[in-house]
Symmetry: C2
Subunit: 479 residues, 2 copies
């Protein structure tokens, strides 16, 4: 049995070195690999299947609110990227440039999309003419490239998979409603599907998207107390519409600029899943996105009847709509347990000769390791029921972790001490001056994560400079 | 009512100008648009939704035969592309080259993947060590770029969406089995889902994939009698494995090269759907991939009870698992009929005040225009049932069209006359010499489409040169 725990022993404990623990989990659970090109990742079957489940669940939510999927070109002409001033300044330094097609040099350089605002603007300019053509609520699932200097699995890579929604509306009010509506879709999705609670609010001007009037964000708290920006929704006002000349005729036959939004969410969320739910035995996957939800493990599988009972149970559990597998390999049960734990499979069911005699099996929860003995005939129903229980419990624990890691700082001394000693979010008032954001970042590496929707006046003065406070801000170190 | 047919009147009749008919349908059914970059297309909601349905149906079939999805980088280093000699010769002339990342010139040029054999080989080299690691049956859904000089919606564009499967096996036999198995998955999918019959067989050496030992293909016959290569499956033998040094240790502890395959199918299939099933009123979509399967159209919708009955029916039809919509816009019923026909919606249901009095509605099939009067309470069940009937009938008509457009030629005079006068496939014997393929192409523009699996000796001599014949070949003009 010495060998059985090998898979697990190779993981660094998260309390010893969180960054190494993260890398170990990504590698041992076979989620991704680096390719030969620096910063470009390979999503392996275990990682890609999680993304497929995220896509399916989120896309169904998109379709319920009227989002239509499209596919836009992966290349953007340099002149198109340059049309909106702030946007090009934000992205030009980090794009990949195509200069040759086949053997011919191109007349104009093309960049691989880092994001597709400019392409959607170019489309909307051509297809939006009248108020009858509005709103346009388009989305695409694709990969984008941003040339990153330092990269980290799922959290920051030079190419990543995401969805980007791009909408056009008749009025500023509708655009603002859409911006918030989609942030809410994201937040609901993270709660109901990923069991991850979020802090939501508006980004400061310093942290907003290049070209946006306002950026809204959801921020998750990782197990180590660092924040992870997990999805953003931008209101562009009519800035892009003016730069691209996207106008429509209203009911009174007058020309108006459209108002636009965009919103995106990426494979970064897989990093959030790992760092919110994982433990020293590996991944703990939310049932809704787990590629395998139930792993059946025979004990003494060569004993008569054991494998047959497992196969029957596999059929039952699959018929109940769960993604289930049977591990009948020649590895030892201990190894199989460790492997199922490493991969974060929500429920494992063990059946051995003694269980069989009693018509029973043992269900083991990955999240709590609780063992439940049930009649084999009830196992499928029990496993189904556990999927929701597990999600609720995972959410509850993550929520408790989040809430117990939010600290208030009323002055800069308190702020510095809290940053130093208490990993988590710090609530602190802010004067609205970018200089304070810069000072805090320089002194502590913490940044303003968001101005929460629910504002409170916890002090009268800025936590940094002491001048009159304007906004409550969530500060934190972030990935 | 004069205006009601406007949508339809703007389509060129397919007998007058098939190419223009095709372009008109693509445009009027709002499937795609060109972008500002030559040869790069925008898949609009109507076109992308068909692709999503193709993906869902095909991916489910892949998973049943054990395919695992992954995602590989979109860029390939030039040195990696060059490792397999035939492969780089085939693709280097048509790739897009990235030379700068951000503001820095790259040390080595990277190409945007035209196909990903080299990347998968690089991965397999790293993860395949023992016979226990085999087989690897990976697939990815992505977009690829091939710099095309002349382009055509869906059929040929500089960027297109596809899936590419890449597998590694222990033996030559297994690789050959896999190659044929996946071609069969494709063919079944086209028959059962798209209602398109295929001619299948092996490509000649001249027409095979760059780097393959053998390429197998399925070829569909368009309404105008031209062939469309609709999916291919390649057996690489150990050619790539030798170039990339992918070896594994077998049970006897000996080193062996793996044997590999790849297989792909793309948005080109949307072109096949249009040109196999469409008519002068627009698209005719196979029910399984139609974004909307049932369109409910109220007649005199302002009359009391009409809209209410339509909404009730919409709920019933949706509950029966069909993708249904209600067109309650202020357009005339005639316009709505024309629009639903243009978009190829398989079934339309009309309800007016008179129908309501009788508790009836009228179901109209898009493919045959047959009208069926049924009780409103039976409409959902009838519409469900029609989905399979329509697919069967569409397949039957396409199959009859295919079979009635296959001609035999026993000598070159017959061949030339048939090419000239009878659009379709020509069966003709071949000596095996590439010179004959080249002569036929130069004389007629027809090419060898495939050497069918079911070989027959319809003559003793080559249809071109008169020397002894080796193979029966399907010849034809192709897109």
């Amino acid at each position: 049995m010495a060998n059985d725990k090998k898979l697990v022993e190779e993981i660094t404990s998260m309390d010893v070195d969180f960054a190494q623990w993260y890398t170990d989990v990504v590698k041992k659970a076979e989620l991704m690999d680096y390719s030969t090109i620096k910063g470009f990742m390979i999503l392996k079957p275990g990682g890609y299947a999680i993304w497929e489940n995220i896509q399916r669940e989120l896309d169904a939510r998109f379709k319920k609110v009227g989002v239509e999927n499209v596919y836009m070109p992966m290349l953007i002409p340099e002149s198109l990227l340059q049309k909106e001033k702030d946007h090009v300044e934000g992205f030009a330094p980090e794009v990949a440039w195509v200069t040759h097609g086949g053997t011919e040099p191109l007349v104009e350089r093309l960049c691989i999309r880092p994001t597709s605002e400019t392409l959607f603007c170019d489309l909307y300019k051509n297809i939006v003419h009248s108020y009858r053509d509005l709103p346009k609520i388009y989305n695409q699932w694709c990969s984008v490239v941003r040339w990153e200097k330092s990269t980290r699995p799922f959290l920051r890579s030079s190419e990543f998979l995401w969805q980007e929604g791009h909408t056009a509306h008749a009025t500023a009010e509708e655009a603002q409603e859409e911006t918030i509506r989609m942030l809410n879709v994201y937040e609901d999705f993270c709660r109901e599907v990923l069991a991850i609670p979020m802090v939501t609010g508006q980004k400061t001007d310093k942290e907003k998207f290049a070209g946006a009037e306002a950026t809204y964000t959801m921020e998750a708290l990782m197990h180590d107390g660092k924040a992870l920006q997990s999805g953003t929704s931008h209101n562009f006002g009519d800035g892009f519409a003016r730069a691209f000349d996207i106008q429509y005729t209203d009911k009174d036959n007058k020309l108006n600029y459209v108002h636009q939004t965009s919103w995106g969410l990426s494979t970064r969320l897989i990093g959030a899943i790992i760092m919110v739910h994982g433990d020293d035995s590996g991944l703990v996957l939310p049932p809704a996105v787990a590629p395998t939800q139930v792993m059946i493990v025979p004990i003494q599988q060569k004993k008569e009847g054991v494998l047959g009972a497992c196969e029957k149970l596999l059929a039952d559990v699959s018929a109940a709509g769960l993604r289930a597998k049977l591990d009948d390999s020649d590895k030892s049960p201990g190894w199989k347990f460790a492997e199922a734990e490493m991969r974060g499979i929500p429920v494992r069911i063990e059946i051995g000769p003694r269980d069989l005699e009693n018509g029973e099996c043992v269900i083991v929860r990955r999240d709590t390791r609780e063992k439940i003995t049930v009649a084999i005939t009830d196992a499928a129903a029990k496993a189904s029921e556990l999927m929701e229980t597990i999600r609720e419990d995972m959410y509850g624990r993550a929520k408790a972790h989040l809430e117990s890691h939010i600290y208030d700082a009323h002055n800069y001394d308190e702020f510095l001490e809290t940053v130093e000693t208490k990993p988590g979010f710090i609530r602190g008032m802010w004067c609205g001056d970018v200089a304070c954001e810069e000072k805090i970042k320089e002194d502590t590496t913490a940044t303003s994560r968001c101005m929460p929707f629910e504002q409170e006046q916890i002090a009268d003065t800025c936590v940094c400079c002491g001048k009159p406070a304007k906004k409550l801000v969530f500060w934190g170190k972030a990935y």
